[in-house]
């Protein structure tokens, strides 16, 4: 398990390795990068892994739920995490990738009443919920309460195949939507690791671009 005793590389060694891949100028922006991930299921856990791996320095993980055995078909957890809060399990994993990240966790259910306090410090929010009403609540809440922030949301990633139907669409300067926008989950149309990861990759890739370039032109 990811205890401090397992850390065998210094902050400087890890920085050098990341800079070798990304260049120092880009790594500096990633180190200063800050994003919240709301919902730590298939979308959120995969997006968080991607952002942690490239060294996005400040991550804010939010979920109220515990890891269930049925989550392992698509979410970035292991059997040893079943029963743990997702915030604790994911933080543990991300610190195994990079123990020098600043990771804040909030084990709470997001509602209209706590959006203002919960997301005050996050310039970019990754909406990674499961239930459509919750997705709409967070997107509307962020855009109404924080007009300066950017929300990256996802809709439509159930099933398998049709990778290229999943896309990133800019709705406004502050609202991006990833997914095919039609494939909802339901009986006979389950969420599966490969396609959920494609969509989570869209969200994480856009957030990387927002952090590195500060703006995005999608064609």
């Amino acid at each position: 398990m990811g205890s401090a005793a397992d850390i065998t590389f210094t902050r400087e060694e890890l920085q050098e390795a990341l800079c070798r891949r990304h260049t120092p100028a880009i790594q500096e922006r990633l180190n200063r990068g800050r994003a919240a991930i709301a919902g730590l299921g298939g979308l959120g856990s995969n997006a968080a892994f991607a952002l942690a791996r490239i060294g996005v320095g400040h991550l804010h993980l939010i979920d109220f739920d515990r890891v269930d055995l049925s989550n392992l078909n698509r979410q970035q957890y292991f059997m040893r995490h079943v029963g743990m809060y997702k915030t604790d399990a994911l933080k543990e994993e991300l610190l195994e990738i990079n123990p020098y990240l600043d990771i804040r966790t909030d084990c709470v259910r997001v509602s209209e009443d706590n959006i203002l306090s919960l997301f005050a410090e996050d310039p970019i929010i990754c909406e990674a919920f499961d239930v459509p009403e919750n997705k709409a609540m967070l997107v509307n809440g962020i855009l109404e309460l924080f007009p300066e922030k950017i929300i990256v949301s996802a809709s439509g990633m159930a099933g398998y195949g049709r990778s290229n139907d999943i896309r990133t669409r800019k709705i406004t300067e502050h609202f991006y939507l990833c997914g095919d926008e039609v494939s909802g989950s339901g009986p006979g149309h389950g969420l599966m690791a490969p396609r959920v990861a494609v969509c989570a990759g869209h969200e994480a890739n856009l957030i990387a671009q927002l952090i590195i370039d500060g703006c995005v032109n999608i064609t």
Binding site: L43, A136, T172, E181, S183, L191
Partner: protein, 65 residues
């Protein structure tokens, strides 16, 4: 004439956003609405009168994450 999700629509004068959404079968709990580049707060759907030339984007969310 207004534009909704890329398609032209003819509306009666004075139609509200809420009336249009209900007419089109949108579930208001599962959407976000952008009008002329701005997000319309949910509580204003009933008071928002649509005018000729308005460009609307209704984003519907489906389940899964």
């Amino acid at each position: 004439m207004i534009r909704v999700n890329g398609k032209d629509r003819i509306l009666e004068e004075g139609t509200t956003l809420l009336a249009l959404l209900e007419q089109e079968g949108w579930q208001t709990g599962r959407i976000a609405v952008e009008k002329n580049g701005e997000i319309i707060p949910k509580r204003q759907y009933g008071d928002t009168i649509l005018h000729s030339g308005d460009v609307l984007e209704v984003v519907g969310f489906v389940g899964g994450g």
